[in-house]
């Protein structure tokens, strides 16, 4: 296992360069290995600003740039608008928001930064966090101006935050922001969105220093069956677009880039799923590296330990584990029926623990289990979904559960017995699980965390790549920094998951939306 704590930026750059070189060699069969200059191409159309991607960051940048009177072209390689931004839960953490003030929640920018640094293992780029603290409310207001509707309730308290600061959209989905923003952008004169249009490369100025446009393919059709769509997909007809003011790269993360993600974390085997949509690949990110953009934190890939191999993508397992089985239940190694982690620790700690098992015995997925008292009423409908869909299974006895997952029954029963006893006697467990202390125990109302009368519910676990914290280095104006000069690359901006540094080693929940909308807005303001 790679020793993440001591990997330096130099190593990251080396690795980034190596993979870039490797891919460059592979793509030598393409027309050009390096980005073309304006002397080599003939522009089909001219715009002021070109935005790559239609997620939170892309649409925010485009809306702001168009509002300022620019002629904006937005390229989206998929058939649908929004990418990962339309399939998430619609939560946005805003420190010192008007919502918090309305509901009497005390918060501060310093506290927000402290929380992010703790989860990020202290390697976050603090100036980016400070920018978020300054501008997140503006980004929220801008989203509302574009038509987004946020629930008028007390902000939610997400894991890792010190106070409740997460707003949720009306429809509990990121589409609650994307749909109105998309309509807003479509109505703006001078804004054009082209779907199934893939950005292939940057067009550089004659002296090779600035970005002046992009080459792309229209009528491009993403093919999820290819191993590397970025390299192998040849569909579409070539076009070249000029960007007089610049290009905003908002192409998202690369959790579904089977080749690139494995280079960063070899535990991510090719047939592993992710919580992301199929199009989350590293193609555009690598093109930026090729023109000299500085890579940051590339191999920090956040993996969710709450997912299940028995369903595609995010599914219902995260809700049933995080807000259910993990709370008062346990997770066991099926080979020996013993616990192996603090079920409520941060994402990285738990994912790493699961990988220890999977490295030793691939596909012997650990199992989390609990009983009826571990679920709160509001997720009862999800329980039905989990059982009908087959992700979660219900058993009358621990023996039946053990038999189903081939866990040694006696060992499992012993584990559960000790767990229940420790809680009763107030003894701290070996993994220092917080939810079994103090106030949380009151929810149990004096019973056992795992009531032996059953029934028992169980879900198989697997870590799934969720968010790629690393990416392009940007300054607080969303300008991409060059590794050659240490200064911004003229004409190139970036926002969202494609950038690196904000979240450090591990992202806090609901902070991604904040990061994307804030820096998207800033990119649109500064381009």
């Amino acid at each position: 296992m790679s020793n993440k704590e001591t990997m330096s930026r130099r190593d990251a750059l080396k690795l980034g360069a190596l993979s870039t070189a490797g891919l460059a060699m592979l793509s030598a069969t393409n027309a050009m290995a390096a980005a073309p200059t304006e002397k080599d191409v003939k522009f089909d159309e001219e715009y002021d600003v070109i935005v790559i991607g239609t997620g939170f960051a892309g649409l925010a940048a485009a809306a702001k740039a168009a509002e300022r009177g620019y002629k904006v072209l937005i390229l989206e390689k998929m058939g649908r608008i929004g990418g990962n931004s339309v399939i998430n839960g619609g939560g946005m953490a805003v420190p010192n928001s008007t919502w918090q003030k309305k509901y009497g929640i005390q918060d501060s920018g310093e506290l927000f930064i402290k929380d992010c640094l703790k989860a990020g293992l202290g390697i976050n780029h603090v100036e980016l966090l400070e920018t978020i603290v300054k501008r997140a409310q503006d980004a929220l207001d801008f989203s509302i101006k574009c038509g987004a509707k946020w629930q008028d309730v007390k902000p939610a308290w997400f894991g890792g935050h010190s106070v409740a600061r997460s707003l949720v959209t009306d429809n509990m989905s990121g589409s609650g922001v994307i749909k109105p923003m998309h309509e807003f952008v479509e109505k703006l004169p001078g804004c054009k969105i082209m779907t199934r249009t893939k950005m292939d490369d940057f067009v550089m100025s004659a002296d090779g220093t600035s970005v002046v446009g992009v080459t792309a393919r229209i009528n491009y059709r993403f093919d999820p069956k290819l191993f590397s769509d970025d390299i192998e997909n040849k569909t579409g007809e070539k076009k070249v677009y000029k960007a007089k003011k610049g290009v905003v790269l908002a192409s998202g993360g690369f959790s579904m880039d089977k080749m690139f993600r494995k280079l960063q974390d070899p535990r991510l085997v090719e047939d592993m799923d992710a919580t992301n949509h199929d199009g989350a690949t590293a193609g555009a990110l690598l093109k930026a590296f090729q023109i000299g953009a500085m890579p940051v934190h590339i191999d920090w890939i956040q993996q969710g330990p709450w997912a299940s191999p028995d369903e595609r993508g995010f599914g219902v397992a995260p809700l049933l584990t995080q807000q259910g089985l993990f709370k008062f239940g346990i997770a066991v190694d099926v080979r020996n029926g013993k616990r192996f982690m603090n079920e409520m620790a941060d994402r990285k700690t738990r994912a790493d623990a699961e990988y220890v098992i999977l490295r030793e015995a691939p596909k012997t997925y650990p199992v989390t289990l609990g009983t009826y008292n571990t679920f709160e009423e509001q997720i009862y409908p999800i329980i039905e979904k989990g059982l009908t869909g087959g992700v979660m299974k219900k058993f009358d006895t621990l023996d039946a559960l053990a038999a189903n997952y081939k866990i040694p029954a006696d060992a499992l029963k012993a584990t559960v017995k000790k767990y229940n006893e420790d809680v009763k006697n107030g003894v701290e467990d070996e993994f220092k699980k917080q939810t079994l202390k103090g106030d949380s125990l009151k929810e149990l109302k004096g019973g056992d965390p795992i009531d032996m009368k059953g029934p028992f519910y169980a879900i198989r676990l697997v870590p799934k790549p969720h968010h790629t914290m690393g990416g392009l280095q940007i300054n607080t104006k969303a300008q991409v920094i060059s590794g050659n000069t240490g200064k911004p690359i003229p004409g190139l901006f970036a926002a969202g998951e494609v950038t690196g540094g904000t979240h450090g080693a591990s992202r806090l929940g609901t902070v991604a939306v904040t990061d994307c909308l804030t820096f998207g807005l800033i990119a649109g303001e500064n381009i």
């Binding site: 649908r80 608008i81 589409s175 199934r196 595609r312 869909g389 087959g390």
Partner: protein
Amino acid sequence: MRSKKTLFTVGFFVILSAVSFLIASEGSPPQASPHVAMTPELKEKYPIKAHHAKLSLRCTDCHEKQGDNPEDFKAIGDEGCLSCHKTKQYLADRLKFMDALHVNPHNSIHDGPKLYCDECHNEHKPSDNMCLSCHSNDVKIWMRKTP
């Protein structure tokens, strides 16, 4: 006397019917399309869906203005599908009962009625279901196989 009346009456009706004919032919049915000879090989290479075959639709009913050689035909795109199937909003409304539980493929919580038809629907090969790319376990509970 009689023959003049007859002549007059006949003449009147001849002119009347001629004028009526001219008026009626204002909105005449459009020109016939180029003809594609349907062979068993063509049927096997480019099968069409049962619900379209039931209407005895011919190649050129969809592939309008694309000549008469099936090998040159291109996908007709959203515009082609909607030339009969009206609008995406209309299709979303037809599955209104699914809106109640947010499982309407033509009006999903993610995309609304804005997807390309061919994200899921293919004519000459089996159709897909885009929802399956994430909701792998639930789709079969909500709806039938994509036509």
